[in-house]
């Protein structure tokens, strides 16, 4: 294919992908997930005060909800707020741009790998990668995973390029280092991948002519990681390591996780991730027809295992799932995101083989499968997902915040029994002044910031308390109690003389948050708990 046409096609793919990633970005996902809200609020806090929500100046690891998340995405988000304002789209845009960069570098990577027999296969695989449900889903998230994924892929691209031109080691380790500052997964993946790379490709890497570049890469990497070194001895740095030994059945967990992640049913039909927020209804991370090129690709990966480029691909395939496999009892597709890169290339290997064997029918099949795939994506992501996953994405908290603003003279108790982290959604939607929140936060979290303390379970800011409802005294105070349909039963409402004053419904018109006004005067008249009536 002529170079010019190929470049044009790549831009067409990027344009098309950009349209998909940006379409209704503020409305789909419908709601704002706590992971997005906690990032956005801390980014706002950094921008306005130079401190995070707990009052820690420019943290190296953000405490957030107890996860001590690497900081890069939050600092980038602060810039996004400065340029685009404090709105949902600002945070999701970072992932859109990251995903588009990952598409471009995916194309450059498969071209450099020279793994396919034709340039058509490069373009087809890149196009399918761009519209794969896994990437589309991640391209529209307002938190760190996609940025980290892209930075890691850039590192991988330059590392492979360095096998030919050693100066690329410097770029590679720059991106790898930045990836470790973006998400937990990459903090584990980068060292594992690099160590195995040096072992497998030691004869190519450790040549006299490369020493100069390796030396500067090491210096550069060390310099970037000084921030990590400053917190390496704190519990916060190792917070995610405990997951490996969760339940004490390490080998059993590893085995179960590996077989689950590699299950074709999981990858191509229905994801078994227990977190509703991670899944799209009616589709998995890849289109179901891709299972055939995937299996052919796997076969070819083993068959061609002695080729240098396949060895490199094999290394990414084998390592990309390690952090996810080692991270607990249940599968989390989010932690497995690095696997998307090798998975798509393996599918591409299969497609390339099929196109080579039956070129005409292969192209006809692609012409049919591209629009069908797109239609399935539209159905699952843009029609079913915003409705069926609205609850999982905390739909309705913007409306609750609006109600609170309109009733600023009242006190509120928000039940968090089933959504213990929902306070951050209110901080976000209320645009609560970070400086004020920093002064209200429990002082134990301000001292010794990097000591990994268990997360809070009750929060108080302004006229709002977020905690479990206490029936002993909550109905004796003049306030509004807010909860999901399970928080307050009809009999409890009757017993405590609660008056329903509002209801927030999800897109299918089912109530998700119900607001009750207490009646302390009447309650005190009929009850003997006078101690609460005096308050």
């Amino acid at each position: 294919m002529k170079r010019k046409i190929e470049v044009l096609m790549v831009f067409a793919i990027l344009f098309f992908a950009g349209v998909i990633y940006l379409f209704k970005l503020d409305k789909v996902p419908s709601g704002f997930y706590v992971d997005e809200a906690v990032v956005s609020y801390n980014a706002l806090s950094i921008l306005q005060t130079g401190k995070d929500a707990f009052g820690q100046p420019f943290p190296v690891l953000f405490r957030l909800l107890g996860s001590y998340t690497p900081p890069l995405f939050i600092y980038v988000s602060s810039l996004a707020i400065k340029f685009f304002g404090y709105q949902i789209i600002s945070f999701r845009l970072i992932s859109v741009v990251s995903a588009l960069v990952s598409v471009l570098f995916f194309y450059l990577f498969v071209r450099k790998l020279k793994i396919f027999s034709s340039s058509h296969a490069n373009l087809i695989t890149t196009g399918l990668y761009a519209i794969s449900p896994w990437l589309v889903f991640n391209a529209r998230l307002g938190y760190e995973v996609t940025l980290a994924y892209t930075l890691f892929n850039l590192g991988v691209y330059f590392l492979y390029a360095a096998l030919g031109k050693p100066k690329n080691y410097i770029f590679s380790f720059l991106f790898f280092s930045l990836a470790t500052y973006s998400a937990h997964t990459q903090r584990f993946l980068v060292p594992i991948f690099c160590i195995l790379f040096f072992l497998i490709f030691r004869n190519t890497v450790f040549k006299k002519s490369n020493y100069k570049y390796l030396f500067w890469s090491a210096i550069f990497t060390f310099f970037i990681h000084t921030l990590h070194l400053s917190v390496i001895s704190t519990p916060a740095f190792w917070v995610k390591n405990q997951r490996l030994i969760e339940g004490g059945r390490v080998l059993h967990n590893i085995f179960n996780q590996t077989t689950s992640y590699l299950s074709t049913k999981n990858l191509f039909y229905e994801l078994t991730d227990i977190d509703l927020q991670h899944t799209i209804p009616g589709i998995s991370v890849m289109y179901n027809w891709m299972v055939i090129p995937f299996l052919i690709g796997l076969f070819l990966l083993v068959k061609r295992r002695r080729e240098k480029n396949i060895k490199f691909l094999g290394l990414i395939t084998a390592t990309s799932l390690i952090p996810a496999v080692l991270s607990g009892e249940f599968i989390s597709i989010q932690r497995a995101l690095p696997f998307l890169l090798p998975l798509m290339i393996v599918i591409g290997l299969g497609l390339d083989f099929m196109l080579k064997k039956a070129r005409f029918w292969g192209i006809v099949a692609m012409l049919v499968l591209f629009p069908i795939s797109f239609l399935l994506l539209y159905r699952s992501y843009f029609v079913l997902f915003p409705v069926e996953r609205a609850d999982g994405w905390n739909y309705g908290y913007d409306k609750l915040a609006e109600y609170i603003i309109n009733n600023a003279n009242k006190n509120f108790v928000i039940d968090n029994s089933r959504n213990p982290r929902n306070y951050i959604l209110l901080l976000h939607f209320l645009n609560y002044p970070p400086q004020r929140y920093q002064s209200e936060v429990d002082s134990k979290y301000k001292n010794d910031y990097y000591r990994s303390l268990p997360p809070e379970n009750s929060y108080k800011f302004g006229n709002i308390e977020v905690r479990e409802i206490n029936w002993k005294y909550d109905s004796y105070k003049d306030q509004i109690i807010v909860g999901d349909p399970l928080s307050v039963s009809d009999s409890q409402a009757k017993e405590h003389l609660l008056e329903k004053v509002g209801e927030i419904k999800n897109p299918v018109n089912n109530p998700i948050l119900i607001l009750y006004k207490t009646n302390p005067v009447e309650k005190c008249k009929q009850n003997t708990n006078k101690e609460f009536c005096l308050q």
Binding site: L262, S263, T264, N288, F299, V383, L384
Partner: protein, 173 residues
């Protein structure tokens, strides 16, 4: 002709395939496989209503049209048929999985890549996958059409492993 070379073996394979196919056919309940529960039907109707009025027809086709739903069921079955988790550990212990992988690899290396190879076995396996996808794997007898292939591949992988070890041992001495 390659087929002529292995004529007897191939005829046995085809005969076995037909026998298993008949067993599968007699034990399967196709109506069950392609009927929907009241909850599923309810969900289909509900999902149809999620589409904007201008896309109502598309909503009907994607969510409710029988042919589309059957295609979806077929694709689910295909993905299940091709999933190693269907066979391990339900029909074989996981310790045999590496032998299975090795056996499958050898099988496809011999019959799939090589243009001059006898394709009878490959075609039988291919049709077994297709037919099993039609019947599904949750029937009374499970994935009966593919089980012989799974067992044979595992056995082949095991024999190859033993021979490999034996060769190594003999070379050493």
């Amino acid at each position: 002709m390659k087929f002529a070379k292995h004529r007897k073996i191939n005829l046995v394979i085809i005969a076995l395939f037909i026998i298993f196919f008949v067993i599968q056919l007699m034990s399967a309940n196709i109506k069950n496989e392609y009927s929907f529960t009241p909850a599923q039907l309810d969900q289909q109707i509900q999902r149809m209503n999620y589409y904007q009025p201008g896309l109502a027809r598309l909503g009907y086709i994607l969510e409710r049209k029988k042919e589309v739903r059957i295609l979806d069921k077929l694709s689910e079955n295909l993905v299940e048929v091709l999933d190693f988790n269907t066979y391990f550990p339900a029909y074989m212990p996981f310790v045999l999985f590496p032998f299975f992988l090795s056996g499958v690899y050898k099988f496809f290396e011999k019959n799939f890549i090589n243009d001059d190879s006898d394709r009878t076995l490959l075609i039988v396996v291919f049709f077994s996958i297709l037919i099993q996808s039609f019947f599904g794997v949750k029937g009374k007898l499970g994935p009966i059409l593919l089980l012989p292939f799974i067992y044979l591949s595992t056995g082949d992988g095991f024999v190859n492993f033993v021979l490999y070890i034996k060769n190594k041992y003999e070379k050493k001495n």
